[in-house]
C-alpha cells in the first residue's frame, strides 16, 4: 500500500537566477530573482504564498553566514518579497539537504498548515580557495584530521572512491563516461554554467588532480545563485500556467552509523537503501519505473553509489552499468539529464529536483526524455545524509 500523501501535492513553478562564478548582484538579490521567476512560472501572485522553506547551509565549513550575502534565510525572503501578510508556516532545516525542505513543505500542505509554499536553495561561492581551512586550531573531530592536512570533504570522497575502485575494479576510464555524459546533457541546458563548454574524454583525462583519484572535473562546479520552486496541493495545482509535477513519494537517509570518523565506503549500501526503500514504498514505484534519475553528484562517484543503493543496479555494478550509452538521454536510464552539479552548477540538489519537474511536465526542451512519467531526484551522499523525491506526471 502506497503512502496516503501520494500525488496530493505538486510542484507548479520553477525559477532560476543567473548562475555564475562571480555575480554582480548579491546572493540575496539573486535569490529574489529566482523566487520571482518561480512565482511567475507558476502564474501565482506573491501575496498568495503563505509558506516558506529552505536549507540555507553555507557551502562549506567556515564559508560565512551573513544573511542576504552568504546565505539566504527564511527571514530574508519573508522581509524582501510581498508575500501573504500572514505567513502561516515556515521551516528552515539543517539536515538532509534541500529535498528535506521540500518534504517539510509537502507535510505542511497535507496538514493544511498553508496553501502555497515557496522553497529555494541559494548557494554562495566564497572568494579565495574553495574549502580552504582557515583556523590554526582544529576543534572537535577536526583535531584528528587537520594536523595531517586532511580537512576537505573531497579528500574523504577521494578515499571512498579509492576504496571502491580497489574493491570492484572500477577505473578512471569508467568515471569519464559519467562525467562526459553529464557535460553533454549540460550542453542542452541553457541554465547550466557549462552550457556552451563541451568536454571530451581527453579533456577529462587532462584535468589536474584535486585529491587523487579525483580530478577537477569529478568535483561539482561552485556557482553563486539560486533556484526556487512553488509547491501546493493537487487541487490548487491544476489551474496554473504549466502542468503540475506531482510528489509521488519521498524518503530521507535514516541509517545509524557505528563508525565515527567522517565516513567510509563500507556503509553506503545500507545507508542509501534507508532512503531509497522509503522512496519506492511511498510512491509504490520501483527503480524500473523511473524514466530518468537525477542523482546527486557533488563528487562524481556519489551518483554511482546512488545507482547501486537505490536499486538501479547491483552492488559494485554501477561503473559498468553506466557504460555503452545506458545513462545517455537516449539510453534505458537517462541520468542527470540536465548536467548535474558537475556541469550545471553546485546547487546542493536543487537542480536535480528542478530537472525532475521539467522532465515530467515535458518542459525539458532539447534534453526531454520522451513521455517521462516518473523521475526520482536524490540529494546528498549515501554515506552521509540525504533526502529524495519521486516526481510524477500523473497524481
Amino acid at each position: 500500500m502506497s503512502w496516503q500523501g501520494k500525488g496530493k501535492t505538486a510542484i507548479v513553478g520553477i525559477g532560476y537566477s543567473e548562475l555564475s562564478r562571480r555575480p554582480q548582484k548579491s546572493l540575496g538579490a539573486l535569490s529574489l530573482d529566482a523566487c520571482r521567476a518561480a512565482l511567475d512560472d507558476a502564474g501565482l501572485p506573491a501575496e498568495q504564498v503563505d509558506g516558506l522553506a529552505t536549507f540555507p547551509e553555507a557551502p562549506f565549513h567556515g564559508a560565512g553566514t551573513q544573511d542576504g550575502e552568504q546565505i539566504v534565510s527564511v527571514e530574508y525572503v519573508m522581509n524582501h518579497l510581498p508575500l501573504a501578510p500572514d505567513i502561516r508556516w515556515y521551516a528552515q532545516i539543517e539536515t538532509g539537504l534541500i529535498a528535506s525542505a521540500v518534504i517539510e513543505g509537502v507535510n505542511a500542505l497535507l496538514a493544511e498548515a498553508c496553501e502555497y509554499v515557496l522553497v529555494w536553495r541559494a548557494l554562495h561561492n566564497p572568494r579565495g580557495r574553495y574549502g580552504a581551512w582557515s583556523g590554526n586550531r582544529a576543534p572537535g573531530d577536526a583535531q584528528f584530521m587537520a594536523p595531517y592536512g586532511c580537512t576537505s570533504i573531497f579528500q574523504w570522497h577521494a578515499m571512498a572512491w579509492q576504496r571502491y575502485m580497489h574493491r570492484y575494479g572500477a577505473t578512471r576510464d569508467h568515471l569519464a563516461t559519467f562525467v562526459t555524459n553529464s557535460r553533454r546533457n549540460a550542453n542542452l541546458n541553457p541554465n547550466a554554467y557549462f552550457y556552451t563548454t563541451p568536454m571530451t574524454r581527453e579533456d577529462y583525462f587532462a584535468a589536474r588532480w584535486i585529491a587523487e583519484p579525483l580530478c577537477l572535473f569529478d568535483c561539482d562546479i561552485p556557482v553563486e545563485g539560486c533556484v526556487a520552486l512553488v509547491l501546493t496541493t493537487a487541487e490548487r495545482a491544476v489551474d496554473r500556467r504549466h502542468p503540475p509535477a506531482y510528489i509521488a513519494g519521498y524518503g530521507q537517509n535514516t541509517s545509524r552509523r557505528r563508525a565515527l570518523f567522517h565516513y567510509s565506503l563500507d556503509n553506503y549500501m545500507e545507508s542509501g537503501h534507508s532512503l531509497a526503500s522509503k522512496l519506492w514504498a511511498s510512491s509504490d514505484l520501483r527503480p524500473q519505473d523511473m524514466s530518468a534519475a537525477e542523482l546527486y553528484d557533488g563528487f562524481s562517484p556519489s551518483t554511482l553509489y546512488w545507482l547501486e543503493a537505490a536499486g538501479f543496479c547491483g552492488q559494485g555494478e554501477a561503473y559498468s552499468f553506466i557504460q555503452d550509452g545506458r545513462i545517455a538521454l537516449e539510453g534505458e536510464l537517462p541520468v542527470n539529464t540536465f548536467g548535474g552539479s558537475l556541469s550545471e552548477g553546485r546547487l546542493h540538489g536543487m537542480g536535480h529536483i528542478a530537472e525532475a519537474v521539467m522532465q515530467v511536465t515535458d518542459r525539458a526542451e532539447k534534453r526531454q526524455v520522451p513521455s517521462a512519467s516518473a523521475v526520482c531526484a536524490i540529494d546528498g551522499s549515501p554515506m552521509l545524509r540525504g533526502s529524495g523525491l519521486v516526481i510524477t506526471r500523473e497524481p
Binding site: 590554526n136 586550531r137 583535531q143 584528528f144 594536523p147 580537512t151 587523487e212 565506503l265
Partner: protein, 139 residues
C-alpha cells in the same frame, strides 16, 4: 611574503586530552566502552555502540591496515604548501573494524601505497606541547 605558515594544531578539549597526553608519552590510546568494549574514536561522551557513559582510554597495539588513501594536490591547509602533493592514509586499527585514524605517509612513493598495506604507529614530536601519532609502512 610570510614565513612558512604553521600547520593546524589540535584544539585539545576535555574529551580528547587523554589521547594527546598519551601521545606526548609516545603511547597510542583509544577511548573504549567499559560496558560493551567498543572503541570510540574520535572520543565521545556516550558510547556510539551501546550508549553507556563508562568510557576510558586503553592502550592499543598501534598496528593497522590502510583502509584507503588519497594524494592531496590542493594547498587548502596552512603549512602543507611545501609538501604538495602529499599522501593521506586512513588507518583501520587491528583492534576493531571501522575504527580509523588519519595519517600522512611521509617519504613513501605513491606506488608503494596499497589498500590493505600494513602500518604501525610512530610519534612525531612537533614541539614541547604537541606530539602527533603517525603511521609508517611495515616492511
Amino acid at each position: 611574503m610570510a614565513a612558512t605558515q604553521e600547520k593546524p594544531r589540535p584544539l585539545i578539549d576535555d574529551l580528547t586530552r587523554p589521547f594527546w597526553e598519551a601521545a606526548r608519552e609516545h603511547r597510542l590510546v583509544i577511548q573504549r566502552c567499559q560496558d560493551c568494549r567498543y572503541f570510540n574514536h574520535p572520543p565521545r561522551s556516550v558510547c556510539n555502540a551501546c550508549h553507556s557513559a563508562a568510557l576510558t582510554f586503553e592502550p592499543v597495539s598501534g598496528r593497522g591496515t590502510i583502509y584507503s588513501f588519497s594524494v592531496m594536490y590542493q594547498p587548502n591547509v596552512a603549512g602543507f604548501g611545501d609538501e604538495l602533493p602529499y599522501l593521506n592514509i586512513l588507518v583501520e586499527l587491528e583492534e576493531q573494524p571501522q575504527i580509523f585514524l588519519v595519517s600522512n605517509l611521509s617519504e613513501v612513493q605513491r606506488e608503494q601505497v596499497r589498500i590493505g598495506g600494513q602500518v604501525e604507529v610512530y610519534f612525531e614530536d612537533v614541539d614541547a606541547e604537541l606530539t602527533l601519532p603517525k603511521f609508517r609502512l611495515i616492511a
